[in-house]
C-alpha cells in the first residue's frame, strides 16, 4: 500500500524513476549514434551524475524525453518506449527495435528506496549499456552514413510491437522491484529485415509518423535553431484510428548530426521532415519521393549534377511551415537549419540551384544558401526569381555560341554543345588561347556551385584570370643568350665560394639532424 511509504521515500522514488527514465533514453539514443562512447570516471562525486554513472546528457534528447513524458512518470499502463528505426536514402524506413520501460503492479514493500532501489536502478542502467551493444541494431547504427540513418522516437503509453514485423525477439534487460511496482526494462527487436514489409499501415495500426508517400496527415513542423540537422516536429493526426491520450512526439534526429559528432560527412548530417501538405499547395500525394526526383531531374541542364537541394519555405531563422517536399530521396542531405557557422561542412553547405520549371510543379523553391566552412556569416536566401543558375548564360546564349562557332568553323559538323568544347575548338583555330576564349566562352563563366554574393570575385573570374599566369621571371630568361661555355666558366668561381662557406653548410646540415 502506498500509505506504507513515507512521503520522503515516495518523493525520492518518483525522482529516481523520472531520472532513470531520462537516463535510459540517453543511453539508448547514444548507443545508436554510431559512435563509440567514452566517459570518464571521477572518484570525487559531482552530485550531478545520477546512479553514479557518467552518462552524458544530450540536451535535445532530454528535451524530447521530457516532452514525451509531459510531466508524467512511467507507471502501470503507462510505458515509456523508445523506438529505433532505420531510414534509407531513398526514403524507405523500417522500425528496428523498441525499448520499453514498464511498470507492473507487483510491489516489493520491504525494499529500501533510497538505497537498494537506487543501487538496483544503477545496475539496471549498466545492464542497459551492455545490452544496447548486443542487439542487431547496434551494428547497423555503427555503419550508418551514406546509405541510411538511424532515427529514434520516444512515446508514452501503450507499447506498439506490431511495427517490428513477424518473429521479433525480446530481450529483458532487467527488473527492479519498488514499493509502488516493479520496473521492467526490455527490448523487442526485429529479426525480419526485409524492407517494405511493415510500411503499409494495417487497418488498425496508427501511423506513428507520416511515411514518405501518401501522407494523410497534416503536419506542422518547426525547426529548432540549435545544432543543425535537427528537426523537431509534432504530428497531429487527421485520421485517428486509435485515440491516444497524448500527442505523439516524433523526433527524427540523424544520429551523426548531433553536436558532438566530430567526423562530419555530408550525407550523415541531416534529415528532412516528411512531406508536408498545406492546403494551398500540392496535395501530399504528389509530394512523394519519386515525384520530387522527377521534378529535380527536370531541372537538370546538360548534365549538370544537382547537388544537395533543400527546399524550404520561410526564413532561415524562423520556425515555419514547410510546404514543399522532403528531399529524402536525394542521397545528400542538407541541414535543416542554416545556422551552421563553425561546422566543417564545406562539401554540403553550398546548396545548389535547380530549375523548377516543370509546369505541373507548383513548388516555390526557396533555397537557403550556405557559406563555406568556418565562415561566420549569415546565410542568404534566394528565391527562384532571382536565381542565377550555373551555366545560366548557356540557355539564352546557346544560340550565340552556335552562331560564333558556325562563323569561325564553317566546316565543323555539329556545333559544340558546351562552352568547354567551344574553347577547345578555339584553341585550334587561333594562337593565343586567352583571346579566343572571349569569343567562344560565354562572357560570364559561372562554374557550378561557385557563386557567392558576398565575395567580390567569384570562382569563375578567378579561374579565368589566373588561368594564364605570367611566366616566372627566372624562367623567362632568354635561353639563347646564355651559352653552355659561360656556364662552365662561372662554375669554378661558384665552387670556390661554396668551399669557403663549407663550415656554414655543415652547421646547417647539423641543425637539420
Amino acid at each position: 500500500m502506498e500509505a506504507d511509504l513515507s512521503l520522503q521515500d515516495r518523493k525520492d522514488l518518483d525522482k529516481f524513476i523520472k531520472f532513470f527514465a531520462l537516463k535510459t533514453v540517453q543511453v539508448i539514443v547514444q548507443a545508436r549514434l554510431g559512435e563509440k562512447i567514452c566517459t570518464r570516471s571521477s572518484s570525487s562525486p559531482t552530485g550531478s551524475d545520477w546512479f553514479n554513472l557518467a552518462i552524458k546528457d544530450i540536451p535535445e534528447v532530454t528535451h524530447e524525453a521530457k516532452k514525451a513524458l509531459s510531466g508524467q512518470l512511467p507507471g502501470i499502463g503507462r510505458s515509456m518506449c523508445v523506438e529505433i528505426s532505420l531510414k534509407t536514402s531513398e526514403g524507405d524506413s523500417m522500425e528496428l527495435e523498441t525499448w520499453c520501460l514498464e511498470v507492473n503492479e507487483k510491489c516489493d514493500r520491504d525494499i529500501k528506496v533510497s538505497y537498494t532501489v537506487y543501487n538496483r536502478l544503477s545496475l539496471l542502467l549498466k545492464s542497459l549499456l551492455a545490452i544496447t551493444r548486443v542487439t542487431p541494431a547496434y551494428k547497423l547504427s555503427r555503419k550508418q552514413g551514406h546509405d541510411y540513418v538511424i532515427l529514434y522516437r520516444i512515446y508514452f503509453g501503450e507499447v506498439q510491437l506490431a511495427v517490428l514485423g513477424e518473429g521479433f525477439q525480446t530481450v529483458r534487460v532487467g527488473v527492479v522491484g519498488t514499493p509502488i511496482g516493479t520496473i521492467t526494462l526490455s527490448c523487442a527487436y526485429r529479426t525480419n529485415l526485409a524492407f517494405m514489409s511493415t510500411r503499409t499501415p494495417a487497418g488498425d495500426e496508427v501511423l506513428e509518423y507520416p511515411g514518405v508517400e501518401d501522407s494523410q496527415e497534416v503536419c506542422t513542423t518547426s525547426f529548432s535553431t540549435s545544432p543543425p540537422s535537427q528537426c523537431v516536429f509534432s504530428v497531429t493526426k487527421t485520421q485517428l484510428q486509435n485515440p491516444k491520450p497524448a500527442v505523439m512526439d516524433t523526433l527524427k534526429v540523424p544520429m551523426m548530426g548531433l553536436a558532438f559528432s566530430h567526423q562530419l560527412c555530408s550525407s550523415r548530417l541531416s534529415y528532412q521532415p516528411p512531406t508536408l501538405g498545406s492546403a494551398d499547395l500540392l496535395c501530399p500525394a504528389v509530394l512523394n519521393a519519386t515525384h520530387l526526383h522527377q521534378i529535380v531531374n527536370q531541372g537538370k541542364d546538360g548534365g549538370v549534377p544537382l547537388g544537395p537541394v533543400q527546399l524550404l519555405h520561410g526564413t532561415p531563422a524562423d520556425h515555419g511551415k514547410i510546404s514543399t517536399c522532403n528531399t529524402a530521396d536525394t542521397t545528400q542531405h542538407v541541414p535543416a537549419t542554416p545556422s551552421s557557422s563553425g561546422e566543417e561542412t564545406e562539401a554540403m553547405t553550398r546548396s545548389n540551384e535547380t530549375k523548377s520549371s516543370s509546369p505541373t510543379n507548383a513548388l516555390e523553391a526557396t533555397f537557403i544558401r550556405k557559406v563555406g566552412a568556418l565562415v561566420n556569416k549569415p546565410t542568404t536566401q534566394v528565391t527562384t526569381a532571382s536565381l542565377d543558375l550555373p551555366f545560366a548564360a548557356f540557355a539564352p546564349k546557346n544560340f550565340d555560341l552556335e552562331e560564333n562557332d558556325i562563323m569561325l568553323h564553317p566546316n565543323d559538323s555539329p556545333p559544340p554543345e558546351s562552352p568547354l568544347q567551344g574553347s577547345l575548338h578555339s584553341d585550334g583555330s587561333s594562337g593565343s588561347s586567352g583571346q579566343t576564349q572571349d569569343d567562344f566562352v560565354m562572357v560570364d563563366f559561372k562554374p557550378a556551385f561557385s557563386k557567392d554574393d558576398l565575395l567580390p570575385m567569384d570562382l569563375g573570374t578567378f579561374y579565368r584570370e589566373f588561368q594564364n599566369p605570367p611566366q616566372l621571371s627566372s624562367l623567362s630568361v632568354d635561353v639563347s643568350a646564355q651559352s653552355m661555355a659561360e656556364d662552365l666558366d662561372s662554375l669554378p668561381e661558384k665552387l670556390a665560394l661554396y668551399e669557403k662557406n663549407i663550415d656554414e653548410f655543415d652547421a646547417f646540415v647539423d641543425t637539420l639532424q
Binding site: 562525486p45 551524475d49 551493444r133
Partner: protein, 218 residues
C-alpha cells in the same frame, strides 16, 4: 552461505581468446563495481562516478562496454594474457577455464589468517578451435560475436536476479568487501584464476596450488 556459480562456455579461435575473455570479464566487472566510496562523518558515505567506454574487438564482430579505468583494464589484461599463454603452451587443441571469483574477507583471530569466502564465481570455459582458411575465419568472427552477445545477455540475466550481494561495509570494513586499491573505480574483491585442461581432459593442478598458496599468504 552458498556461493553461486555460473558457467559460460565459448568456442573461439586462438587469436580471439584475448578479446573474448576481456569482453566477458569486463561485462561482469562493469556490474560488480561501484564508484569510489568517500566516507564522511557519522558513517555515511558518498559514491564516486564511474565512466564507461565502448571497446571494439579487432578479431571478433563485437563491441563491449567496460569501465573507464585503465588500472582495472591492465589488471584484467594481465590475467587474460597469462591464461592465453598457458593455453597456447598446452598444445594445439587448447581447452581451459578462466574463473572470476568475488569474495569477502573475514577476519579471523590470530593465528588463523583471514578467510576468503567467495560469494559469486563466474567460470568461462574456453575451447580453442583451429580454422583452415580465411572464409572460415570470417564466419567465425561473426559467429563468435553473436555468441558473445548471448553470453552478455546471460550475464545480465543472472545479475538482475538481485541475489546475494555483500552488505555495504562501514569504513573499517570496506577492504573486506571491496578492492580499494584502484583510484577511480571500486570493484568487489575479486580474483582471477585459470585451469588448463590438457587433451586427455584431466585438469592440471598448478593453478589450484597457486590458489591455495594465495589463500595461505593472506
Amino acid at each position: 552461505m552458498n556461493c553461486r556459480s555460473q558457467v559460460l562456455e565459448v568456442s573461439v579461435e586462438g587469436r580471439q581468446v584475448d578479446e573474448a575473455m576481456l569482453a566477458l570479464l569486463h561485462t561482469i566487472l562493469l556490474h560488480r563495481s561501484t564508484g569510489k566510496f568517500h566516507y564522511k562523518k557519522e558513517g555515511t558515505y558518498s559514491i564516486g562516478t564511474v565512466g564507461i567506454q565502448d571497446i571494439d574487438c579487432d578479431f571478433i564482430d563485437f563491441t563491449f562496454v567496460r569501465l573507464s579505468s585503465d588500472e582495472l583494464d591492465r589488471a584484467i589484461r594481465k590475467a587474460v594474457g597469462e591464461f592465453k599463454d598457458a593455453l597456447r603452451s598446452s598444445g594445439n587443441d587448447g581447452a581451459g577455464q578462466i574463473s572470476l571469483e568475488f569474495y569477502q574477507k573475514k577476519k579471523s583471530r590470530w593465528p588463523f589468517s583471514d578467510e576468503c569466502i567467495p560469494w559469486e564465481v563466474w567460470s568461462i570455459k574456453v575451447n580453442v578451435v583451429n580454422l583452415a582458411n580465411e572464409q572460415e575465419r570470417q564466419i567465425c568472427r561473426e559467429k563468435v560475436g553473436e555468441k558473445l552477445g548471448e553470453k552478455v545477455i546471460n550475464i545480465v540475466e543472472v545479475i538482475n536476479r538481485h541475489e546475494y550481494l555483500p552488505k555495504m561495509p562501514t569504513q573499517s570494513e570496506v577492504d573486506n568487501v571491496f578492492d580499494t586499491s584502484l583510484k577511480d573505480v571500486q570493484p568487489y574483491l575479486y580474483k582471477i584464476s585459470f585451469q588448463i585442461t590438457d587433451s586427455l581432459g584431466t585438469s592440471v593442478s598448478t593453478t589450484m596450488r597457486r590458489l591455495i598458496k594465495d589463500t595461505l599468504a593472506l
